[in-house]
Amino acid sequence: MAEPTKDMLLEWYRQMVLIREFEETCHQLYEEKRITGVYLHLYSGHEASGVGSMAALRKSDHVITAYRDHGIALILGMDANAVMAEMMGKETGSSGGKGGSMHLASRQHNFWGGYAIVGGHLPLAAGIALEARYRGKDDVTMTYVGDGATNNGYFHEALNMSAIWDLPVIWIIENNGYGMGTEVARASGQTELHRKAEAYGIRSFGRVDAQNALEVYAVACQAVDYARRHGPAVIEHITYRYRGHGVSDKQYDARADMSAELKEWRASREPITILRDSIESRHGAEAVAEILARHEADARRIVAESVAFAEASALPNSYQALMRNTYVASDLVHKTAQSVGAGIE
């Protein structure tokens, strides 16, 4: 089992407190209507799932996810300013204000994006992994998928194709208990979701307590190694979302059982606390106190600066900004003034 170094653990802590600060700030900004838009799905509570698993990757590997994508973007090192500006639809946003919360991506980080149709990114992941196989590279594609997506056709078709073509994908099912508002047991005949992948001949690495970054990391290392050498692997991360499905989720206010459940997860399975306890027990609370405090202060500063940056940025407002990048400009396309649908670069 891979044993993370002290530096790695501190880095994970840095990532996790940055994500939490970013997400809770997004929530606040949404409440204040400084972030507008309909969709905002926060990664608070999920931090160890992304941080622990992506620590098993190397730079040339690939990452793709669904719409709960802010944390994934920050772990990969995307600039918090550009991510926050995208939340606000600003022209300095990572997608120029075209994508918003659900469509973050970064070519330079091999981050192929967040996608908004449940399951829609799963065959894309298979295609990205096919490119590696096709060209004889051993890079893997780490793919995050929610529990709800395991019920739609994309999941089954994409996983089956990854199996028959031996594609180097690690399918990480982030099981946070609910697909939007529907409990897993009310949505899936098989509630051990990784077993659905097993049905297609995919090697399962089972269920992991994804509030514990060290456990996540240990299993992810095995799965990544397997995928690099053989083919697809699946891991089921058991996690919890602190801010509901998205900011419009009012269930936790309306249902006492759900609010009690949330309280219990926060109290006993808080991923940042669990990581902090691990670091302190291994390396001494006093020895790490200063650096942990510095990471917390840095997170507050970075996020505050990102808000200032985003709010100072301009909204795209020209016709050119609206139309551009519908298509790639191409000499192969007939140019006439009255052509309809040729788009603008």
Binding site: G120, L124, G127, V328, S330, H334, A337, Q338, V340, G341
Partner: protein, 328 residues
């Protein structure tokens, strides 16, 4: 230069084979494209020539075929993904409309999606309702993808080569009725015979009425033009070739000369190719319009199995000629 008659399927096969020889990033995938040699024989011999890495049989998984091509294209390959028939592409509509067509836009130009979806299209031959669609306009509805629909062998050849080389996603539909139909094609076109994406073509000149069509509709329009010529009516046949981008400049140029137009299509009449062309003509050519714009499309009904009522539902040259007679 020697010219001979070539079936459209052979022209498509030749274009695809040449582009695979030219660029190692090009590969084909789809149901029965490899060992079966292609349901429509377009990929006949490909497995032997290019091997299993580049000629990939898929399971019956249209959603995955549609989406996997997007990911592979984003990552730098140039997939040519085949839907056995366009009826099955409905299952992949999300991958096509929401992903292939939009990935570039919603990441503001970060990625290119250089893929081609090929799909056999059209009705007839008692294929029955669920296998009888020519739904190109549905796919052409979405900005971000191009839709090409050739009407003969040489066009199919030059259009497909351009589609494969272009960095944008293209849906390329191939009329099943036209697959076996021979048309003239020079033997030696060089390897770079590329027809511009979105460029239409005048298939027959005439001064009395403009017939606007694509794919199989071009056949019916040309047959109708021959019928009309016997009565002294000269029809000009505009083959748009591409539903997106749409070469309206060519339609306007013809309409300014004829001042009359009949739109011919294999597909259904509501929210259709004909609706779009007619709307653009009235908007931009009102001063040149001497008669109502007429549309000839399939009847507004699912296609039945039984032969005679099936034919009743389809457009044909007589219906086109009759529509012309109403306005000249």
């Amino acid at each position: 230069m020697a010219t001979r008659n070539v079936a459209m399927r052979e022209a498509i096969r030749r274009a695809l084979r040449e582009e695979m020889q030219r660029d190692e990033a090009v590969f084909v995938m789809g149901e029965e494209v490899a060992h079966w040699q292609g349901t429509h024989r377009v990929t006949r011999g490909f497995l032997e020539e290019f091997g299993e890495r580049r000629v990939r049989d898929t399971p019956i998984s249209e959603m995955a075929i549609g989406g996997l091509a997007v990911g592979a294209a984003m990552a730098g390959l140039r997939p040519v993904a085949e839907f056995m028939t366009i009826n099955f592409a409905f299952l992949a509509l999300d991958a096509i409309a929401n992903h292939a067509a939009k990935v570039r836009y919603f990441f503001d130009g970060m990625f290119k999606v250089p893929l081609v979806y090929r799909a056999a299209s059209g009705w007839g031959n008692q294929a029955t309702a669920s296998h009888s669609h020519a739904p190109e306009p549905i796919f052409a509805h979405f900005p971000g993808i191009y839709v090409g629909c050739p009407a003969n062998a040489l066009d199919a050849y030059g259009m497909l080569k351009a589609a494969i080389r272009d960095d944008n996603p293209v849906l390329f539909t191939e009329s099943i009725a036209l697959y076996p139909k021979p048309s003239p094609m020079p033997d030696d076109l060089g390897e770079d015979y590329l027809l511009p994406i979105g460029k239409g073509d005048i298939k027959r000149e005439g001064g009395d009425v403009t017939l606007v069509a694509y794919a199989r509709g071009v056949d019916w329009a040309l047959q109708a033009a021959r019928l009309l010529a016997r009565d002294g009516v000269e029809a000009e046949v505009v083959d748009l070739r591409w539903l997106r981008p749409l070469d309206m400049a060519l339609v306007y140029q013809s309409f300014k000369k004829t001042n009359r137009c009949v739109i011919v299509e294999e597909s259904l009449p509501m929210y259709s190719f004909g609706s779009e062309i007619a709307a653009l003509l009235q908007e931009h050519m009102f001063d040149y319009m001497d008669a109502p714009i007429k549309r000839v499309a399939a009847e507004d009904v699912p296609l039945p199995y039984s032969k005679e009522i099936e034919l009743l539902a389809l457009p044909n040259a007589q219906k086109v000629a009759a529509a012309v007679k109403e306005i000249v």
